[in-house]
């Protein structure tokens, strides 16, 4: 299983902070296509992805136990 974390407007669109899915072997791009589109999230190209708290590129491949965070444009400070 892979945990998916959603923040900010993504969390509001999904209605949850976290879901667990079977996604080992998928690329980040495939994960985005599947789970962000499922919740009607537009502008997915602006969403960064972190695996286990480090930013990754869309062609990274997931393994079991990964924690994936979908990170919309940040606005701290």
């Amino acid at each position: 299983m892979v945990d998916l974390l959603f923040f900010a407007e993504l969390q509001e669109s999904v209605g949850k902070e976290k879901i667990s899915v079977e996604a080992a072997g998928m690329t980040v791009q495939e994960l985005k296509n599947t789970y962000l589109r499922k919740y009607d999230i537009q502008n997915t190209e602006n969403v960064m992805v972190a695996i286990n708290e480090e930013y990754v590129t869309d062609n990274s491949i997931l393994v079991d136990g990964d924690v994936v965070a979908f990170i919309p444009p940040v606005s701290g400070g």
Binding site: E45, N46, E53, E54, Y55, P72, V74, S75
Partner: protein, 157 residues
């Protein structure tokens, strides 16, 4: 997590951040304090709500401190960011950088706030008089082509 980089839900004690970087080798400390502004042009903010991916945010703030140490000799940095509900004039972020000489302190703390707005997973929701919205501009008034950190930025953790 290094005690110099932390996320908190409590009001920020500016002096606590400064105390983390005071040392005999330093003659200059530059701090940046971000507070909640009431008006953005003619739009009035009632309060803000900050959310963070806290564990990763602390890691990324530490990364910024490490970047600063690499860029400016003999610096020490502390960064604290508050999350949750913040009212007008509440302190959202404090950056403190100490250096032997003052020019480096100014440049490094300016660098830190720019980097926070690029890579630290913290989000601000504006509660306006007439609605709410999550703010997505990473760098406020400046528009950047690059929305995703470079490979180097991503791996420099």
């Amino acid at each position: 997590m290094d005690k110099n980089y932390w996320i908190t839900t409590d009001p920020i004690d500016v002096q606590a951040a400064i105390n983390q970087v005071v040392r005999p080798e330093a003659g200059a400390i530059s701090t940046f304090i971000g507070t909640v502004r009431e008006f953005t042009k003619d739009k009035r903010t009632l309060y803000l709500e900050y959310q963070a991916y806290a564990s990763m945010a602390e890691k990324k703030m530490l990364q910024i401190g490490t970047e600063i140490e690499a860029k400016w000799k003999d610096t020490q940095t502390a960064i604290v960011h508050r999350i949750g509900r913040l009212d007008i004039s509440d302190v959202a972020v404090v950056i403190a950088v100490s250096t032997p000489h003052r020019n480096d302190a100014f440049e490094a703390s300016r660098y830190a706030i720019e980097r926070i707005k690029e890579i630290v997973p913290i989000w601000k929701k504006e509660h306006w008089e007439d609605g709410t919205s999550w703010i997505g501009d990473q760098k406020e008034q400046i528009s950047y082509e690059k929305k995703i950190p470079s490979k180097e930025e991503m791996n420099n953790g």
